[in-house]
Structure formats: structure tokens, C-alpha cells
């Protein structure tokens, strides 16, 4: 247990549940079942396509059931649709926030480019819609093993470009978590390369921005993240199916190695126990270095995606409120709202100017 390259040695330890987190989150972190279940689920790599499909079906089934139950109980309507051959789900709140009347959230689900197909894709979109009261469209993009890279990016770009024939780019927010965050970044990098107008704002949650295993918290939060208790094994195998022989440091696969210039305003979210904490903070700093507006939220005791897994936690509710404000702030304004803001900023600045002159 020595490494001539590193003086750092992590000793065995059982950290207490995070005392600075909310009661709801802490109770969830204290459940032993969740970790054991997931270790077992992610420990045996499927070997054939049919084994993979069985693994995927077993994983997705409870997610679909959860999505259906939520839809039944929630003030939203969901419609399955197709856009240029790509399946999408419209998630429409019964009551739309007037501030988001002209806005659309294009949701890119996570699941290591393998999981969460069909109705399972929209779990996150529903959670966001219920708080923001903003229309969402969740893309059921094609995935590995049958459709490796570039199918997912192509599907997202196809849907997005179609939407541009109907609405201005700045009325669209795009984003998602984990693979959905990575896919959002990769797609926007390709849009920028092709000089296509980018969305008005992005949401990038605990992104799979570096799929090569590079990132400090892949080590320092190993065993600490309750949602991804192991990364080697099934998850790494899923990534390799998606990459389809490409180098995992290819920017098409790991957008952290791509270009972040001309990126739209981006909100990132992660937690202190997130295995992808490094992925998230490295992406945030890259965005800032490229001149983008980029904000990051890091929640105490939150593991990979907990801000969406434990929706009853105040941490999740705070995140969703900040996301709502971020979209409101950066998406295209209605003429009426722009005029109001102009008026307010003028009076604030005139006041500041007066104070500054008098002092």
C-alpha cells in the first residue's frame, strides 16, 4: 500500500452520515440497502448482447414504474412523439409559469449511454417541470449496445435542429445529469463547431464529462458515493460499449478534452460525496477559463445524482429553485419583461452613479 508517486494514503474509516446535510438526505444516506443493492447490480458484467438487454430491462423496469406512478399523481400531461425519427416525450405542466411561457427545456437523460430508455428517460424532466412549471421535451435517444456513438449525439442534434425551425435558440434550455450532462456538453461542442445557434442556457448535473477514469474523486470518493459504489466493472463496460473502440479521451466521448469557447450560460451541480465531483468542478473551471458564464452548486453529503434521487430533501428543492432562476435569468426575455428589466437597471445604475458622485 505504498505509491512512490503519492504521499497520500487513505486509511480505512466509516464516516458518520453527513451531519451538515438535511435530515431527509441524511436518513437516505443512512440506508444500508441502497449501497449493497447497487454493488451487486454493478458487479457482474454482462457478456453477450442478450445478457446486456436483460440487464438493461431489469434496471429500467422499476424506473418506468416510478415514472408512471409520478405522472399519475402529478399535475402534468405526458405525450409520446417522434421528431425526425427520434422518440421524444413532451412533459407539459397543467399550469405553465408565465415567466417560462415561451421557454422549453430539452432534457437529455443519464444512464451511462445504456440505461433509462423509453418512458424511463423522463424521470428528471418531470422533477424539473414540476418545480419550474416549464414545458420539457425529453429525448429518448438511441443507445448502446445496439447504437453506440455517434447515435446519441446525432439524435439530440437532430431534435434540437428541428426545434430551431419552430423557436429561437435562446428560448431553449438544454441539459441533464451524468451521461445526460456529458451528452449535453458534447452536443453543444458540435453545434458550435458547425456554427449552429446554441441554447440560451444549459444545465449540466454531475456530468460524465471525462469517461477515461481521470479525475481525483474517482479515487478519493470511491466507496463514499452511495449511488456509484464501483466504477470499474459494469459502468466502465457500458462506457466502452458506447465509445465503440474510440479512445476514452477523444473529446467526442469525453467533452472535458474539447473546446468550451462560445458556450452559453451553464449551471452545474454536484455534491461532496459525488464520484463525479472532479468531473463537475473541472468542467466548471474549463467553462470559466473559456469565458462562459458558469455557476456551480456543491451540496454537502450529496452523492452522484442525489439532488434528483431524493426529491423530498431541501437540497433537491433548493437546486431546482436555483435552476428555475437560472433559466429565467438567461433564457430569452419577452419584450415586456426586457423593457421592465431595462427600466430597473437604469434606475439602479442612476442611483449608484448619484451615490458614487456624492461620496
Amino acid at each position: 500500500m505504498t505509491n512512490p508517486q503519492s504521499p497520500i494514503e487513505i486509511k480505512p474509516q466509516v464516516p458518520p452520515p453527513p451531519a451538515g446535510a438535511s435530515d431527509v438526505l441524511r436518513a437516505e444516506v443512512s440506508k444500508i440497502e441502497s449501497v449493497d443493492d447497487r454493488v451487486e447490480l454493478f458487479s457482474k458484467i454482462p457478456q453477450t448482447e442478450s445478457e446486456w438487454l436483460a440487464f438493461i430491462a431489469a434496471f429500467d423496469k422499476p424506473v418506468v414504474e416510478g415514472v408512471r406512478a409520478t405522472i399519475d399523481q402529478s399535475p402534468i400531461t405526458v405525450e409520446r412523439d417522434e421528431i425526425e425519427g427520434v422518440t421524444v416525450y413532451h412533459v407539459i405542466p397543467d399550469e405553465i409559469d408565465p415567466a417560462h411561457k415561451d421557454h422549453l427545456f430539452v432534457h437529455i437523460h443519464g444512464g451511462a449511454y445504456i440505461l433509462n430508455s423509453g418512458e424511463a428517460c423522463m424521470a428528471e424532466a418531470i422533477a424539473i417541470t414540476l418545480v419550474t412549471k416549464m414545458r420539457a421535451l425529453s429525448i429518448d435517444y438511441r443507445m448502446a449496445p445496439r447504437h453506440p456513438y455517434p447515435a446519441a449525439v446525432d439524435d439530440v442534434a437532430t431534435v434540437y435542429k428541428h426545434l430551431l425551425t419552430q423557436r429561437p435558440a435562446r428560448s431553449i434550455a438544454m441539459g441533464g445529469s451524468s451521461a445526460g450532462g456529458g451528452l449535453t456538453l458534447a452536443t453543444v461542442q458540435q453545434l458550435i463547431k458547425k456554427n449552429i445557434d446554441v441554447p440560451g442556457a444549459l444545465f449540466v448535473g454531475t456530468p460524465g464529462s471525462d469517461l477515461s477514469g481521470t479525475g481525483d474523486t474517482f479515487y478519493t470518493n470511491l466507496g463514499v458515493d452511495r449511488n456509484i459504489p464501483i466504477y470499474d466493472g459494469v459502468i466502465e463496460a457500458m462506457i466502452r460499449l458506447y465509445a465503440d473502440g474510440r479512445d476514452l479521451k477523444d473529446p467526442l466521448i469525453s467533452p472535458i478534452y474539447g473546446d468550451f469557447h462560445r458556450f452559453p450560460p451553464t449551471l452545474l451541480v454536484t455534491g461532496t460525496r459525488d464520484l463525479f465531483l472532479s468531473n463537475t468542478v473541472r468542467t466548471h473551471i474549463k467553462l470559466l477559463q473559456a469565458g462562459a458564464v458558469a455557476d456551480i452548486l456543491v451540496y454537502e453529503g450529496v452523492s452522484h445524482g442525489d439532488y434528483l434521487h431524493v426529491l423530498a430533501a431541501p437540497e433537491a428543492q433548493h437546486f431546482l429553485e436555483v435552476l428555475d432562476q437560472f433559466f429565467t435569468q438567461h433564457l430569452q426575455l419577452t419584450p415586456k419583461k426586457a423593457a421592465l428589466m431595462l427600466e430597473r437597471m437604469n434606475s439602479a445604475l442612476n442611483l449608484g452613479l448619484a451615490r458614487s458622485t456624492s461620496s
Copy 2:
């Protein structure tokens, strides 16, 4: 090694140096000496006042030597001064950035309310002055064991209130790291309570905002942080000397438990290996929840205060540039600059309004 309250078990591990960090930082992290030296330094608690004073003298000596060497080699002038009985050091760059002509950075040093007295206090102020080209004033506030709480807060408040007789509050930035960050937060909370104008902007680096040992990364980054390899022992003893019998969760000692309403814009900084990562992110979220403008930077592979210990690292340079921008953005504008900004915002908004109307 089981805990009925927690399903999380950290296994022994030697994480590689952070591959996503800069070469300079990674080389520094790979130095074995630093950790071993510090473990030894912080493992034996002094028992008497004279043992404490010897410990302090041994710690501060190389810091003072480093500060003197830096002053000799740098385009700055340093002047020792007294303000209402409190020792301060003016740090004046040979060339002042015109954007900061009217600004002053009031620096509150770290060192667990015990260390870095005298000339040692201004190490961080010098690093910040050299990049921002902004005047700084570093406060050599009284410390334990001779002067426990509230001496430090009183000294900082005394100097700040004196400065208010000379310049507008919004021309002043205040801040520091570790205990300096905690002391900044505690002082501003007291200013707000007393209805005294707060500084225009704060810098709060890896703050000692919770000195009670609460915070997830006190556990999950234990042994990972190369600068504070142990917290129990000498550091905890220093905190108790400062608290002087007070509950460590008293907001006067641990400002995380205090009120953050009406706080000025605050920039926070930490890293993935920081033992105070939880302190920093919890403070950030509290500030946002209280309605403050608050930005956070989390650097890959950075331990407690590395952004100031490894100044040659691109991470440190990036942080200092963002800090400079943050101060420029939030401190009081000159009338000329305010007029220019007003003009620019008007045209940007009018343009947005035109676009919005035409689409």
C-alpha cells in the same frame, strides 16, 4: 469497523496524484515530505502557555522569512502602522491598477486564531496584491492563547470602522482564508447586526466557518488533504483556546450557524482534497439561501489553501484572476465607469429587446 448509522465504509487506498490537476500542482502533491512534516508538527499538543508560544514561534519563523524574501523581490512597498491600537501592514503595489485606484483590500489572515502573527500575517495579502495590483491592508489582530475570542473580531471591526471614516464601505473588499475566512464571516455578521455598512465584496477562502468538527469532508477527506493531515490534536486545541470555553457551535465562533442575510457579494474558493470543502460549500449554499450573490471555485486536487501555497500553479493564477474580476465587478464604481457601464447595458438591452420583438 461497522457503524449501524452508516452504510458507507472507506477502504484503505493510495490515490494517485490528481491527473486532472496542473503539472505544477501535481508535482507539489507528490512531495512526500510536506505531509510527514506536518503530521509531526501537529501531533503533539503544547500543554503550557510557554509551550504554546514556542510552538507558535517555530511555526511562524519560516513564514516571516518567506514574507521578507517575497517583499525584497516584489514590486511592492510594505509599511507597518497602527490603527486605534491594532497593528496593520499596508501592502502597496508600485503600480496600482486604475480599476482599483479607489479600492482597498482588507486582509484577514488565517492560522487557526493562533498562528501567523506579525509580518507573517500578510503572506496572502501580498500574493493577492501582486496579481490584482490593488492596495491591501493586512490586520495583525490579537490571538490566543493570550487573547482569545472576542479579541480578533474586535480588532478587525475596530480597523474596519476606522476605515469607514476615510472611505465608502463599497470601496472596501474584505477577506482571507481558513480562520481568516471564518473571521471575515463572523465580523460581517456582527457589522450587519449593528447596522454598520458592510464591505462591497468579500473573499472567503476555505473558511473555518464551522469549528465544531461538523462537515462531511472532515471525514471523507481525512488523510487526503496534504496541508491539514490531522484535525484532532493541535488544530482542535488551537480552536478551543480561541473559543475560550464557548460552545464551538456558537455562531460567534462558528459563523455557519449565524445569519447570512444582507451579506455583500462573496467569492469562495476550495478544492476537491480540502478538509474544509464541506465548510466552504455549506457556507456558499447558506449565502445563496439568504439571497446573497455568492460564487464558488472548486479546484481539482487542491488541498486546504493550496491556491495560495502553490502560487506558481495555474490553479492559483486562475483563482487570483477571478478574484480580481470579482472585486472589479462588485466594488464601488468611479462615476466615469458607472456612466460607461450604464451606456453599455442600455445598448445591450435595447438590442435584446429589438431581437426579442422581431423573433
